[in-house]
Amino acid sequence: MDLNKENSELPQPQILKLDDDFSLVKRFIDGDESTFRLLVQRHKEKVRNIIYLTLGDSDAVDDIAQEVFITVYKNLKNFRFESLFTTWLYRITVNKCKDHLRKKNVRRIFVPIKEASGELNNDLITEKSDISKIVMAAILKLPQKLKTPLLLKDIEGFSYQEIAETMECEIGTVKSRIFRAREGLKKILQPIEAELME
């Protein structure tokens, strides 16, 4: 009797949600391709935002996001369930952004040096535009490998572990890069520090 009572008071096993990412991925692998649409609906905005933050270029966001999901679609059957689906997804997203920037850098060889300079554009400041925009512009001036972990941390709220997995690096590296990013940002924003501190 006591045992039964004890059993009934035990927390009942939680029924697995069949629409969690893993279940959807598994169903996709099993041939139900309709689940892919659910995955897209669930994660597209996050992916688009990461791209936007990383590139600071809203025109390219959708094109790259499309590429991300096409890559996901093509490779989803090889997903090994060793990491979260989102980690895998964001890794692909970050890599796509890198590819994009690499191509852009190649193109940059052929544009005037002034445009490609790492200095914060003075026009931006003199126009006294919104502080957020100034800061965002400053962030975008950071090198890619510093910028991404900083944004993933401060804007997307990723943990260092998640960032490390996404960026395929050590947690220590993430820690170091985020610090260096903040240092770099401080340096970029130094000329207008007084205004920012107001």
Binding site: R37, V40, Q41, K44, E45, R48, N49, Y52, L53, S58, V61, D62, A65, Q66, F69, I70, Y73, K74, I131, S132, K133, V135, M136, I139, L150, L151, K153, D154, I155, S159, Y160, K175, S176, I178, F179, R182, E183, L185, K186, L189, L196, M197
Partner: protein
């Protein structure tokens, strides 16, 4: 990395709450003891605050998914796409094949339809037999066919086949129920009316026999409820009619003149004979098939000679069975439910159906054409003569009187039941000109003609013109006289016999008397 740089880095992780408990305790100790670290912590917090608040979300893209799935579709391997479109591709492929086949062989569908038609026709063509055998036609029937365009479909005259022309001159035929006609000896009356002598009787018999043989293959019937009518049958009717009347004219011109309408000038009968000969030479394989559910035309090669051979064998076989020759109990039934369908399917044939008859009107059909002079005028003349003769000889309608109308009914002919309402009609004039009126009826000379709902029975007021002349009861008198003559002859023979017997008897009596004496 220096200790200071190491602590600065830890500060960054500290504000991100990413330090272990030990690291955190140690760092907080260091911060308390170092102004530089405190300053750096403030700077880093400020920067983190700035970056955290710097971001404005990118606006949603409403067509993102649509675009994505379109791209995915276009990136799919070709075989997957083919699989998805396989029904449409299959259809397109089939269409292309059909187009190619049709291009190379445009007649294929017609041939297929023709083939199918032949298959169906084959079913109905099975075991077709000449009507003459099935219905056991005699001279009387052929005479009636020639004069009144009617052939019995069975021996008991339960159904008759009637062929004719409508007002527009188009051929039609109908199958209608008939009643047994006991007292119609039209052929005999015809012979009597013309006062034919023995030689002439033999001549007309031979004419009838010749046509009877030729008519055999013109109407075929079988147990599958099929009637096949040779398109030459209409010509046969005209030819036999004209031949008979031409013979009548030749043998008794005076009597014949009484039958010919006054208003039509008529010369001689030679072209009739020519027409008949031409008709005989017109071989025609086209038969119009009337079956339970359809009407169609189809050429068939009916081998009469072969059939006769079979018939001869059959006769021998049946010899022991009281010569029972009637194999077919034919009674045509038409499925009226399919009438609408038929109207659509067979534009050339229009089927009119009521409880009493089934009429097939033939609007477009390539009838064998008879080419001889004055055909149309002759046609009118002979039909009039036939109608005249019909009325005067046998065509007496049954007359029923009702409170408000009088009804004339011709046996076995629903088309020939006529009603007249008294209040619209002068009864005296009706009775006076009854015979003219009947002929008027036959020539469809009507005012206010209309049909009953179900039947083709006409109802209306006839025009009382006297287009045709008639002569009263001469044929009946002649028939009676002939009967009387025969009886008198018989009586005379009997009397003669009796006389001789009497003579013989009296002689023997006399002998006996003498001997007694």
């Amino acid at each position: 990395m220096t200790r200071k740089a190491k602590d600065f880095e830890l500060l960054s992780a500290y504000i991100d709450n990413e330090l272990s408990y030990e690291e955190k305790v140690q760092l907080e100790k260091n911060i308390k003891s170092s102004l530089q670290l405190q300053k750096k912590l403030e700077d880093l917090k400020k920067i983190k605050q700035l970056t955290s608040s710097a971001y404005t979300k990118i606006p949603e893209s409403p067509y993102f998914e649509t675009r994505l799935f379109a791209s995915l579709e276009s990136n799919k391997p070709w075989h997957k796409k083919v699989l998805k479109w396989s029904p449409a591709i299959g259809l397109a492929f089939t269409t292309i094949i059909i187009m190619v086949v049709l291009k190379s062989n445009p007649e294929i569908f017609n041939n297929l339809l023709e083939q199918q038609k032949t298959n169906i026709a084959g079913f109905y063509k099975e075991n077709l037999q000449p009507l003459l055998f099935a219905a056991d036609l005699n001279k009387e029937d052929i005479f009636n066919f020639a004069m009144y365009k009617q052939l019995p479909l069975d021996k008991d005259d339960r159904q008759i086949l009637h062929i004719d022309y409508d007002k527009a001159g188009k051929e039609f035929f109908e199958i209608k129920s008939g009643e047994p006609k006991q007292d119609e000896n039209n052929f005999e009356k015809f012979i009597v009316a013309l006062n034919l002598d023995e030689v002439e009787k033999k001549q007309i018999d031979s004419i009838m026999n010749q046509y009877a043989e030729e008519l055999e293959a013109q109407v075929l019937i079988n147990k599958n409820n099929t009637v096949a009518i040779n398109s030459n049958l209409w010509n046969y009717q005209r030819a036999i009619q004209r031949d008979l009347l031409a013979f009548a004219e030749k043998s008794n011109w005076q009597e014949f003149q009484k039958l010919v309408p006054k208003t039509v000038s008529y010369n001689n009968s030679r072209d009739v004979v020519l027409a008949a000969n031409e008709m005989r030479n017109t071989r025609n394989k086209n038969y119009i098939f009337l079956t339970t559910d359809s009407v169609f035309s189809e050429p068939i090669e009916y081998n009469l000679a072969e059939y006769k051979l079979q018939l001869a064998e059959l006769k021998n076989e049946l010899k022991d069975q009281n010569n029972q020759m009637r194999e077919i109990q034919f009674h045509f039934k038409y499925d009226s439910a399919k009438q609408k369908l038929e109207d659509k399917l067979h534009n050339n044939f229009k089927i009119i159906y009521d409880s009493n008859l089934c009429r097939v009107e033939i609007s477009k059909f390539d009838f064998p054409d008879l080419q001889y002079p004055d055909f149309d005028s002759l046609f009118t003349v002979y039909d009039s003569v036939a109608n005249n003769f019909r009325f005067h000889s046998q065509y007496i309608p049954r007359i029923k009187h009702f409170d408000n109308k009088i009804q004339f009914h011709f046996d076995g002919d629903s088309l020939n039941t006529y009603e007249f309402e008294y209040y619209k009609f002068d009864l005296d004039s009706l009775m006076e000109s009854q015979s003219e009126m009947m002929d008027s009826l036959k020539s469809y000379n009507w005012n206010n003609l209309y049909n009953f709902n179900d039947s083709l029975v006409f109802k209306g007021i006839p025009k009382l013109d006297s287009y045709f002349k008639f002569y009263d009861g001469e044929v009946e008198i002649k028939l009676e006289m002939e009967q009387l003559r025969k009886e008198l002859e018989k009586f005379r023979v009997e009397m003669k016999q009796w006389k001789e017997e009497y003579k013989h008897d009296s002689q023997s009596k006399n002998k006996n008397k003498n001997s007694l004496k």
